[in-house]
């Protein structure tokens, strides 16, 4: 038999006696190597067999049977005794390993028991409830200090070995004893009761009892556990104090703090709705009829809303002078709002004054469960302010998007002064292209801050009152820069265009500011174009006229083509109107309309330009519609970049492609 054949036969014999976790090919290779090694070192072959786990009860027998025809007896004898030795060592190793596992398992069990005992001890010792463990005869095995205090002792240990029945009030003793016996006999799992115990000083004390059974390892009842809650007067006084902390003293309703914790408790996905009510014109009552009347009225309101809340199983609170809050679940907002108004609207006679009330209501409906109670209260308040702004008896639903937008805008506006102070606002220059020749006509100076566009930055600046100082700064800086370009590049320098924000366009100092900027920089007036916000001329402001009289060419920005705007064109001497309308795609009705509009504008002798035009296709659309110029076709550049471009270009700045 060839060695490979022998290895195959050996493999089949071995794998039917023991599990060897290898593929047949791998086992065969191992055994082929073993066969080669066998004559010189039967001991290492024996070790290999054991480490392969060829260690079934019959593995050695089949090995000898397979190998006997081919190998001499002395070799097989050495193999056998080495195999037996290796098996012994292997068994020792495994026994060693399992012993370590046993020791570790035992340690773990003990540790776990200790942790669990420590945990029990912690609960037992720190519980506000009295806890006592008694054996089935009623003897105290262990009691905590809380129980000792309830019965007028100082430490739980004082109760050790005493009969719990000694603590029962004689009136209750018999009945309680019977109840304990039923639990001890396994008839019931436990009981609850309200009974009297007797304190060490002989005074009775009312308690809630909760009694259950502890079973031993075989499941037999072995001990009773009794939990004891003190219901005594002192205890009740404490609870009353708690009540006062959480309730409004005038109306008895929950106060804001209590309401917020109740909202928090429902923020688990329950579909809640919050109503923030503000009584309309309550100050009129207070001021006109006096605070006593006001207080009486508030109590009546609280009563009526209380009835409504009870009907709707809602939570009601008085959260401010004349403000109430209501939390409902699975509610229909419109009908609840109507019910609230009805409840309040019924005329009320207070001190002979008939008063009908109404409320403005802010509503937060089914907020996401990740919202915090404080956030919801704030949102409800915001909605209430919106409702109040619309007049009496109004309600407003909190709009999460609106809120986010408003907050984002406030945050941005708030950071603007700092940003300006730190020089984060930059001036960039966008090219104006003449559509007919594709030449660059000039550069528009614009503000650039963060990711905001010029117009957004100006609008934001308008809302903070910063737009005037920022606008003046832009005017000064851009004129100085344009003058430097004229000085350096002469006729090749771009003309400067500045679009002003709405506030600055109407500023009565505008003309003086422009003249000062020109004087200080030395920029020739014909090199400056001022675009005024169209709203200023519509409002009848005369800045456009005065600028024109001073030789400065003006344009109107934000042109939308309304009749009022067209009418102005007849009166105000402007060179150009600038629109931010979207490009009128050809073959669309918009194209026709725009074409008509532009023809009309041209009829006034005014040119037509479009801002925010970013692609050649859009520029072509505008061209086809008859527009004269576009802004934005190339990205805006910093002053330094423009200078560099002017220096390298043979022809005027950024040439259109």
């Amino acid at each position: 038999m060839t060695p490979p054949e022998l290895a195959t036969r050996w493999m089949h014999a071995l794998t039917s006696t023991a599990y060897i976790p290898l593929s047949h090919a791998e086992i065969q290779q191992e055994l082929r190597d073993a066969l080669a090694q066998l004559p010189s070192s039967p001991e290492s072959v024996a070790n290999r067999l054991v480490s392969l786990h060829a260690t079934g009860p019959d593995s050695l027998r089949v090995t000898i049977e397979v190998l006997a025809p081919t190998f001499e007896l002395p070799i097989l004898a050495r193999l056998s005794s080495a195999y037996a030795h290796a098996m012994r060592l292997d068994a020792f190793d495994q026994q060693e390993q399992i012993k370590v596992a046993i020791v570790r398992a035992k340690q773990r069990v003990e540790r776990t028991l200790k942790v669990s005992q420590a945990r029990f001890r912690e609960v037992f010792d720190s519980a506000a409830l009295g806890i006592v463990i008694t054996d089935l005869s009623g003897r105290c095995v262990e009691a905590n200090d809380a129980l000792a205090r309830i019965v007028g002792l100082s430490r739980g240990a004082d109760l050790h070995d005493r009969d719990l029945r000694e603590l029962y009030h004689p009136d209750d003793s018999e009945r309680l004893d019977a109840a304990y016996r039923r639990v001890g006999a396994g008839l019931v799992n436990g009981f609850r009761d309200q009974r009297k115990l007797v304190r060490a000083d002989g005074e009775p004390v009312w308690v809630h009892l909760v009694v259950s059974v502890l079973r031993d390892a075989d499941g037999e009842p072995a001990h009773h556990v009794t939990m004891v809650e003190d219901m005594s007067e002192l205890h009740l006084l404490q609870r009353s104090l708690d009540h006062q902390l959480l309730h409004d003293s005038l109306t008895g309703l929950s106060n804001r703090q209590h309401f917020v914790t109740q909202v928090e408790r429902r923020l688990d996905g329950t579909p809640i709705t919050l109503y923030h009510l503000g009584l309309d014109a309550f100050s009129v009552v207070n001021n006109g009829l006096g605070h006593d009347t006001g207080d009486k009225l508030l109590k009546i309101v609280a009563n009526r809303l209380g009835e409504l809340a009870e009907r709707k199983r809602a939570v009601l609170a008085r959260i401010g002078g004349d403000e109430f809050a209501l939390m409902t679940t699975s509610d229909t907002v419109t009908s609840t709002v109507e019910e609230i108004q009805q409840a309040l609207g019924e005329a009320t006679f207070v001190d002979d004054h008939g008063i009908a009330l109404s409320a403005s209501i802010g509503v937060v409906d089914r907020p996401p469960s990740f919202a915090t109670a404080a956030e919801l209260m704030r949102c409800a308040n915001t909605a209430l302010r919106q409702a109040k702004a619309r007049g009496k008896r109004q309600w407003a639903l909190h709009d999460p998007h609106d809120d986010a937008r408003r907050r984002g805008r406030y945050a941005l506006a708030a950071s603007m002064p700092g940003a300006w102070e730190h020089g984060e606002l930059k001036i960039v220059y966008a090219p104006i292209h003449l559509l007919e020749t594709r030449e660059v006509l000039g550069a528009v100076a614009r503000l650039h801050w963060d990711d905001l566009s010029h117009n957004d930055t100006m609008a934001l600046a308008d809302s903070t009152g910063l737009s005037l100082p920022i606008g003046r700064w832009l005017l000064r800086e851009a004129c100085a820069q344009a003058a430097r370009w004229v000085e350096e590049f002469g006729a090749k320098a771009p003309s400067l265009h500045i679009a002003l924000g709405a506030l600055q366009s109407r500023d009565e100092d505008l003309v003086a500011d422009v003249k000062r900027a020109l004087d200080e920089s030395g920029l020739p007036p014909e090199r400056l174009r001022i675009a005024l916000d169209v709203s200023s001329v519509l409002a009848g402001d005369d800045n456009a006229v005065v600028l024109h009289d001073n030789g400065i060419v003006t344009a109107l920005d934000g042109f939308r083509g309304g009749h009022d705007e067209l009418a102005v064109l007849a009166e105000v001497p402007v060179r150009t109107v600038i629109t931010r309308a979207p490009a009128p795609g050809r073959e669309t009705p918009l194209h026709q309309a725009m074409r008509g509009l532009i023809t009309t504008v041209h009829g006034f002798g005014v040119r037509f330009a479009a801002d925010e035009v970013h692609t050649c296709a859009e520029a072509d659309d505008w061209h086809a519609a008859g527009a004269d110029g576009v802004i934005g076709l190339l990205p805006a550049l910093t002053a330094a970049e423009v200078t560099e471009l002017l220096a390298t270009a043979a022809s005027p700045p950024p040439a259109a492609s």
């Binding site: 599990y19 976790p21 047949h24 079934g56 046993i102 773990r108 776990t112 028991l113």
Partner: protein, 267 residues
């Protein structure tokens, strides 16, 4: 490894035989005690072929794991892993792909301690001590290890364990819970004793094990097929264990194996 103090362990008593150590003994291992070996001798009297069955079952585990690896599975959940004697899932899978990850599940203190000993330096394999018939707890503990990604197919192994699951534990619901926790393309490998093949021997085994910590509950082929609801059984279906995709020429008598095997793929 974090201590789970929430549960009081049952304790360690080497005087009570355990199924995990019985299996180890039948496989020729040395991780067992006198009580286990005494039970094994009674077991062998009822089913003289028990050593072969143990060996075949272990070999099926290997074939099933390699089959899953071939089908793209790289993470395994081994339910009722016992005392890993030889040819453990992580060893088999890793020979095929070193990135394979395994979570073993067992409840018995010594088996868990032994597995911890073997796996303590292994970052890609871990044992969780839970009752495999309580899938929510097993799955929660498994997720806590962070080893398995439940958005990727998982190889669930229930090899030689469900015959310890009594009907009251609702084996169909147990399997369904694991099935629902893993994504489509996951696999379930399953083997368990049956009375279909050798009724007399099976009855003897049930009798021997009745008084142990681990009584046994054989199941029919139809019952086992029923456990694979929501899975496509891969060829050759539920078969006597040696017939499940044997390696090379099968030399074992399938009817004397006394145990069925199957692998399913979650639809």
């Amino acid at each position: 490894m974090a201590e789970q103090a929430g549960r009081i362990p049952e304790g360690v008593d080497t005087g009570r035989p355990s199924a995990a150590r019985l299996y180890d003994y039948l496989l020729g291992g040395g991780h067992n005690f006198a009580a286990d070996r005494a039970l094994a001798e009674r077991f062998l009297r009822a089913q003289p072929n028990a050593r072969t069955i143990a060996r075949l079952n272990r070999a099926f585990l290997r074939r099933a794991v390699l089959f899953m690896v071939d089908n793209g599975i790289r993470q395994f959940l081994d339910l009722g892993s016992g005392i890993p004697t030889v040819g453990n899932v992580h060893e088999i899978a890793r020979r095929a792909d070193p990135r394979a990850r395994v979570v073993y599940v067992d409840f018995e203190e010594v088996a868990v301690a032994h597995s911890r000993l073997i796996l303590e330096d292994d970052p890609q394999a871990e044992i969780v001590q839970e009752d495999m018939t309580r899938p929510e707890e097993v799955l929660a503990a498994t997720r806590e290890t962070g080893l398995l990604d439940f958005s990727e197919p998982v190889g669930v192994l229930a090899v030689g364990v469900f015959h310890f699951v009594p009907p009251e534990a609702d084996p169909r619901a147990v399997v369904a819970a694991y099935r629902d926790a893993v994504p489509g393309g996951s696999h379930l490998a399953f083997s368990q004793f049956t009375g279909d093949l050798q009724p007399a021997e099976m009855a003897g085994i049930v009798e021997v094990m009745k008084k142990s910590q681990n009584p046994m509950f054989p199941r029919t082929r139809a019952e086992i097929e029923g456990l694979f609801a929501g899975f496509d059984l891969v060829e050759p279906g539920v078969v006597p264990l040696p017939l499940w995709r044997p390696e090379g020429q099968n030399t074992d008598d399938p009817d004397r194996a006394g145990i069925y095997a199957a692998v399913g793929r979650k639809i």
